[in-house]
Symmetry: C2
Subunit: 306 residues, 2 copies
């Protein structure tokens, strides 16, 4: 499969490298580390085994990347103002689909408005990785992907893509209800990304304080209530799902969510996709998420990281 990676951060480089190692023709849009990667290749450091790709097809502009079958989007949503402009040249091939693995809500809609909803797939990545020096990506854990059609429902295309990903070592399933999968991820992302980013505490430190654990749970229930206004195929059982998420998080040893790392590095944080868009969609259906509102407001205070 010919795959263009747009947004070659830790996520795009990691998945792209696995797909290339798995025999696909992967082409990366690169910026700051173009020289390093095209000269010396790409190294993945992982507890599951390090590997190095000698030859990496790097490009400085999407117009130079040629014809591909799939655009894989790993761009931070904070750069979404350039998203469709970067993807457009590749979509001139009418058989090309675009799969966004970005966080939060609203990304598929941006792509659907530009290229047509039938060409858009979305995926939720459960991946912990970050970039080291130029050309090196550290894979810290997990890595599975759940992907589906933006328009909803199953398809041969998503099933085939899940097989391609799985064959490359990326545990992947196709889901019929992408909207539900996105909201399920938000049940975790909304409390933990924001609370950790705001307070500078990791998930273990947050959950160690009983009052905070209780509020994480309440926020999960708020998000589940918001999710259940979005026409999911089957509703989320908020209490059960929250308990499951809390127990899963207990097993994460001092994990620092991406938004916390962004704040610590003084990069912009993905407040629009992870907070404002879910708040807006739930409110439109009559559900207020008060704790989520407060957290989103505090994240929008300039420099309020502890």
């Amino acid at each position: 499969m010919r795959i263009a990676v747009i947004g070659s951060g830790a996520l795009g480089l990691y998945y792209g490298a696995l797909l290339q190692r798995g025999g696909n023709d992967v082409r990366f849009l690169l910026r700051s580390d173009f020289d390093a990667i095209t000269a010396r290749g790409l190294t993945i450091m992982s507890a599951q085994g390090n590997f190095h790709l000698d030859q990496v097809a790097g490009f400085r502009a999407p117009q130079e990347m040629g014809e591909v079958d799939l655009v894989l989007v790993g761009l931070k949503t904070t750069a979404n103002d350039v998203l469709t402009r970067l993807v457009a040249p590749l979509m001139q091939n009418p058989a090309c689909s675009v799969l966004t693995l970005q966080n939060g809500l609203g990304n598929e809609e941006l792509l659907a408005d530009a290229f047509g909803p039938e060409r858009v797939l979305g995926g939720i990545a459960f991946l912990c990785s970050n970039r080291g020096e130029a050309g090196i990506v550290h894979h810290l854990g997990q890595g599975s992907v759940r992907l589906g059609e933006f328009r909803g429902g199953g398809s041969a295309r998503t099933e085939q893509l899940a097989v391609t990903f799985s064959a490359a070592g990326i545990p992947c399933i196709a889901v019929a209800d992408l909207c539900r999968a996105r909201w399920e991820k938000l049940v975790w992302n909304i409390p933990f990304n924001g609370l950790c980013a705001l307070t500078g505490k990791d998930v273990t430190e947050i959950l160690a304080v009983p009052a905070c654990r209780a509020q994480v749970r309440e926020m999960m229930l708020e998000v589940s209530a918001g999710a259940n206004t979005q026409g999911l195929s089957t509703p989320l059982d908020g209490a059960t799902f929250a308990e499951k998420m809390l127990l899963a998080t207990d097993a994460m040893d001092h994990y620092r969510p991406s938004m916390m790392l962004d704040r610590l590095a003084e990069r912009p944080v993905e407040v629009q996709a992870i907070y404002h868009e879910p708040l807006r969609r739930a409110a439109r259906c009559g559900v207020t998420m008060p704790r989520v509102q407060l957290l989103a407001a505090l994240l929008s205070l300039p420099g309020s990281l502890c």
Copy 2:
């Protein structure tokens, strides 16, 4: 009037000094600045006029303070574990009343349990002051007091006390509904003390961000809803009152609430009296204050000040 000041911080020293200057026999329980104040007196620095008291009656223990007519409590509520022990020796005079000017809820109850509800008065101080070097208090603004009977209703005693305070230069009125006055103060204290303490931003910086201003307003509405379960003589009109409080705060130029100063100085913060007790009382009457809950939980995270 013979007055014992228990808790001679910025508030106790300021009000005590004014009352002494107004002709009352004021006695201060002192700790760290006993030597400085008994040797050199007490200085109030204020835009309304500086003044100095040469002779100040300082004591190291309440047992030494003699018989008084009123105990004025200015102790931080974080020291409430010693409150009744400090006040008890002075209450051996059966004609002595105790007036607590402490923040939040639960202080009158502590005193009422120890000395009988009929001996307890409460007051809400609108005062901005802080301590300078030993023996010097800076009065930054305001200073009025609203006081009332713990048991509710008006009384000749509170009316007389309001006259005594006013004559000493402390604008003071007696209120028939102390509970309502306390909750009115909480409508301001709960959002601003906590948000400023948590984020390290002053009230002007908080209100400058529209999403934060909106959340302050929502928290004020939550507190008003909580207040209106507490048997107030007349209910609070939440929306109108919130608007009034927001406009009043707009006029405060980069004001830093006491809890923010406490956090910055790494002193304990009054979370129990200002958050947990109001949350508990509202919840007992069926009202949840979700944003207040979240803020209280974040304030209980160790070292989460920005």
